[in-house]
Amino acid sequence: MDQKSRPATSVSREHAGVDLSVEIAGLRLRNPVMAASGTFASGREFADFVDLSRLGAIITKGVSLQPWEGNESPRIAETASGMLNSIGLQNPGVGLFSERDLGWLASQDVPVIVNVVGHSVDEYVSVVERLEAEPAVAAYELNISCPNVDAGGMAFGTACAPAAEVTRSVRAVTKRPLIVKLSPNVTDISEIARAVESAGADAVSLINTLLGMAIDVRTRRPKLARVVGGLSGPAIKPVALRMVWQVASAVSVPVIGCGGIMTGEDAVEFLLAGASAVQVGTANFVDPTATMHVLDGIAEYCSASGVRAVRDLTGALGT
């Protein structure tokens, strides 16, 4: 209980002066702090620690048309200032997801962004079509960057043509804000960003995980059953920040920054680099109240440095 109320009041009291609201792809958000896909489930698991209504938005775990089993275990490995995961988008499918999770989320006072995955363009489209009927959905985030599935996932996110195609196809079936989540495992992420922008994306989010690997020298086997997995956490922050900075100058749609954000200052770095909002992922595992710490940190930074509105920080990097 006090887990919730403490930060809540601290903000409203101390940071009363700062306007934390941001607008992204037509969505007006209370503040720029979102829970990153796959690290926050549908929020229910964190409701004991976080007042969900204080989040800018919740991005759900990736949802597919049919239920997905995910990969074999072990599915994670700790690395230097980071972790590898190869969950493989295990999810109950859009049907069960709508029943179980969207129903509950509807009763929560927080914008819900559904992370969408598919093995094919048609599957992405079908998931979105199915969700159009759900009033609880505020926006979609197309995950074309998951390194942990064989078909689909990153395959769509590492070349312009398929990235544009899946974006265009989904754009055709929804008027809701459409965010496309980009993969960092590419030579030129700006080019992919431009491709999805011209295909109709209202915003881009980045980065998803970097493809990595770890080996147990004792057993001489990979630490992940699937051999490779996605690297996340503080270790990848410099790469994520660089890509956000590059993409922000390449596209005119809003950029949502993600990758290794643990503190308010980390988040401010992304805003200065050009992000309009941020996603907090792995940090939720380290500290279930991480999203609130990041939010309070941003607010403190703003009031301490006389920033009236958090959106004034976006792209305010001096050089």
């Binding site: 887990q3 964190f46 969950i87 004792r218």
Partner: protein, 274 residues
């Protein structure tokens, strides 16, 4: 089969806990006593805490540990020093604080009308069985314990089991305590001869599986506590899945205790070290 947990489940919470004691109790095993009033008040046998052994980027992930016992407003943790995190844990001194999430997971359940329980512990598998043994005894359930370890110096929780159990039978790989050999030999004998109403198992997965099969053959209900790598510990990340007859479940919230019959032993456990 109708089952009942112990107290009503409390929601997990994040608590700053203070180290009261941290001492070696067996070869490579430490006992950590943490002052944690709120977790201690709500924890059930078989539940665990997710500990932040150190702050800073060096240990990004928390480490899960079963609550071995509750003593007043403190919880006791038996930990084996295996790798970086547990080594770090062994360096914590009294008065130091860390943060813990708990109580977490589904603990052991007591079948209605159970009068006699067999607890089978392999190595540190004894940890989550301590509190269970105490509370079963308090309820008048007869407790037998089959305990295995590599050697006498690696046996843990002896006094606790001796004090509450009707009988404790030990097997060690080198015969330095009890009989020489595997605990599965002991469990098989105890399951056959004194026909417990329920078997509770924790230990290496090969051993847990063997015991589960013994119980199944004797058609005695059996619960196993399973270990998986855990990131969040609260059910969000899906890193800890256990394959069951009803699909993949999360060890951190649907477990760590499972009914043995629903577990598909697919070798997805944490690679054993010893």
């Amino acid at each position: 089969m109708s089952c009942a947990g112990f107290d009503s489940a409390t929601h997990p919470l994040l608590e700053r806990v203070e180290v009261l004691r941290n001492e070696r109790v067996a070869q490579g095993v430490g006992l950590l006593v943490l002052r944690s009033p709120r977790i201690a008040a709500g924890v059930e046998p078989g539940q665990f805490v997710h500990l932040r052994v150190a702050t800073g980027a060096d240990f990004l992930l928390r480490r899960p540990f079963s609550v071995h016992r509750v003593a007043g407003d403190a919880i006791e943790i038996l930990y084996q020093v295996l790798g970086r995190g547990t080594r770090e844990l062994s360096l914590r001194n009294p008065a130091e604080v860390m943060d813990a999430i708990g109580p977490l997971g589904n603990g052991w359940r007591v079948p209605a009308g159970a009068a006699h329980a067999l607890l089978v512990a392999g190595g540190l598998g004894a940890a989550p069985l301590g509190m269970l043994a105490e509370q079963l005894a308090q309820r008048g359930v007869a407790v037998s314990v089959a305990q295995g370890a590599p050697s006498a110096e690696r046996l843990v929780a002896r006094d606790l089991f001796e004090s509450v159990a009707r009988r404790v039978e030990v097997a060690t790989d080198d015969g330095s305590a009890g009989e020489r050999g595997f605990v599965t030999v002991v469990s098989e004998r105890l399951i056959e001869h004194d026909r417990p109403d329920v078997v509770y198992v924790c230990g290496p997965e090969v051993m847990a599986r063997a015991v589960a099969e013994q119980a199944a053959r004797a058609s005695v209900s059996c619960q196993v506590s399973l270990e998986r790598l855990m990131a969040c510990g609260v059910g969000a990340c899906l890193s800890c899945v256990v394959t069951t007859s009803t699909g993949r479940k999360r060890a951190c919230v649907d477990g760590p205790v499972f009914n043995a019959e629903e577990v598909c032993w697919d070798g997805s456990e944490v690679p054993p070290r010893h």
